[in-house]
Amino acid sequence: MVAIDPTLLTNIFLIGLSGTLVCLAVHFIPVGGAPAAMAQATGIGTGTVELAAGSGLVGLITASYMYAYEPLADIPLVMAAGAMGSMVMLASTMFAGSLIYAYGVAVPFASAQVKKDPITGDRQDLYISKGTQGQGIPTICFVSGVVGAALGGAGGGLIYFVLMDLYKPLLSMTSAFAVAGVFTMGVMYVNSVIPSYGVGGTIEGVHDPKFRRVVGKDVITSFFVSILCGLLAVLIAGGMSV
């Protein structure tokens, strides 16, 4: 078995932290679920889980490529690479989504949760069409989404980095990539589903009152679950070193 030493504890903690980052990310991404796809709610018209995971995984691709081809890459750089990939993915998605809301459905963007956009100061309530919860992606949602994607991608990059360092000495390079990648994906999915249950499928972003209401308990849940995952990850490494 594995002896308790500071490096391992740090690793467990870092995996716990990265899971929490992914969980936090979900809260920032403005997702309106099925109503948003009908332009009946503010945000992106899809599910929380998939959008968070989708952007996080693009981040994982960029982070893993960075890790593989830059031997000097340290934790911040790999995390930043992940964050960049995720941000680009989510920003392109939201931008193209805005095109559809603007010129395909022809509705002005408006948030139902705040009276004025905290960034641009535009009135929101006048622009909400009848019988809906707002529509489109106003600037505050866009910025919040980008921040969320950055957190998610950074979390994915961090966990991948930690796992690679754990498994690299024990397995061949190909296997280490695969094992670390699959494990990252598992942790990512667990941590993007948990907050989705917390927010009940829809959230507008950081300005949504729901954000303050649920973020605390989701983060606590995610942190504990991710710590457990981290513990298992470290123990797996112990199991490999026969």
């Binding site: 796809a37 332009a39 889980v49 995984l57 960049m84 941000m87 809301y101 459905v105 002005p108 309530d125």
Partner: protein, 300 residues
């Protein structure tokens, strides 16, 4: 870096082009079957008394179903490549098997969902099943082909650490996430409620009251693709193309440095500003729903 700069840029451009096609076709495929979020309206319609002749492809959210067909395509391709198949053949066969399996899942979800709506008297139309499923398979095949090709290029040419099925799965999930965020809005927000005034916003009370008549005869899912191919599909394609292109472009040009990260952030900032410009444009063009702001949503 494995290739020189010119070659990397060429490969990157190819990836972007493939991604654009994949994104476009993914969205159209989901519109053929009425998948993902707009599906809730198709599902709800019989309950509101609106029986219809639209396919109900509730496989799951798009990221999951597209991830599935792409990962199957990637796996089969890997198997064939290990048998020394020519790569293009391997990718085509792999993509085809992935698409066929998606088609099988599509038939079960249409039949299953309709059979679970017995009390609303929604009939199961076998002709819809018979000619919509091949359309779904066809669209999905092209998407699979592009995604597995991207995965193949990234793995074999660019030397990404992940294997072909892994990359195909990630791109499948991403294309699904993008397709359901972008293109589906065009289908769900506009096409399903085309009989309402353009730009009136969709009152929640309208849920389930979808359009069931086409330009000629009764509307079916193929009519929906025809409409969405004009805007929703291409916009989705642009989104995935931008994602694939811009997520690698900075590192291709500037190497694996903080400069590249900075360029990436700059791209995101530009996209944010463009979004703001669109927001201003539409607010100016359409104006507020002023006269409606004090009313309740009472109308049923």
């Amino acid at each position: 870096m494995v290739l020189d700069l010119t070659m990397s840029m060429a490969v990157l451009a190819l990836l972007g082009a493939l991604a654009t096609i994949a994104g476009c076709l993914e969205d159209l495929e989901s519109d053929v079957g009425s998948q993902s979020n707009p599906n809730s309206q198709v599902q709800l319609a019989p309950q509101m008394g609106f029986l219809h002749r639209i396919f109900n492809k509730a496989i799951s959210g798009e990221p999951i179903s597209n991830g599935m067909s792409a990962v199957i395509g990637g796996t089969v391709t890997t198997v064939l490549l290990s048998q020394k198949f020519y790569p293009l053949t391997a990718i085509v066969i792999g993509a085809f098997i992935g698409a066929i399996i998606l088609g099988i899942f599509a038939t079960t979800s249409y039949a299953g969902r309709v059979a679970s709506q017995t009390r609303f008297k929604q009939p199961l139309y076998m002709d819809i099943m018979r000619y919509t499923t091949p359309t779904i398979i066809g669209h999905n095949f092209i998407m699979n082909f592009c995604l597995v090709a991207i995965a193949y290029i990234q793995f074999e040419v660019l030397g990404y650490p992940f294997t072909i099925p892994f990359l195909a799965l990630i791109w499948g999930i991403s294309v699904g996430a993008i397709g359901s965020s972008v293109g589906d809005v065009h289908y769900g927000g506009e096409r399903e409620f085309q009989n309402r005034e353009f730009g009136c916003g969709l009152n929640t009370a309208l849920s389930g009251r979808i359009v069931r008549k086409a330009e000629s005869g009764l509307r079916n899912s193929i009519d929906n693709v025809w409409f969405c191919a004009k805007f929703g599909g291409p916009a989705t394609g642009i989104a995935l193309g931008l994602t694939v292109f811009f997520s690698s472009w900075p590192t291709t040009l500037f190497g694996y440095t903080w400069t590249a990260i900075g360029i990436g952030v700059l791209i995101v900032a530009v996209l944010t500003i463009m979004n703001r410009l669109i927001e201003l444009n539409v607010r100016h063009a359409y104006g507020p729903y002023k006269e409606e702001k004090n009313e309740k949503e009472a109308k049923a």
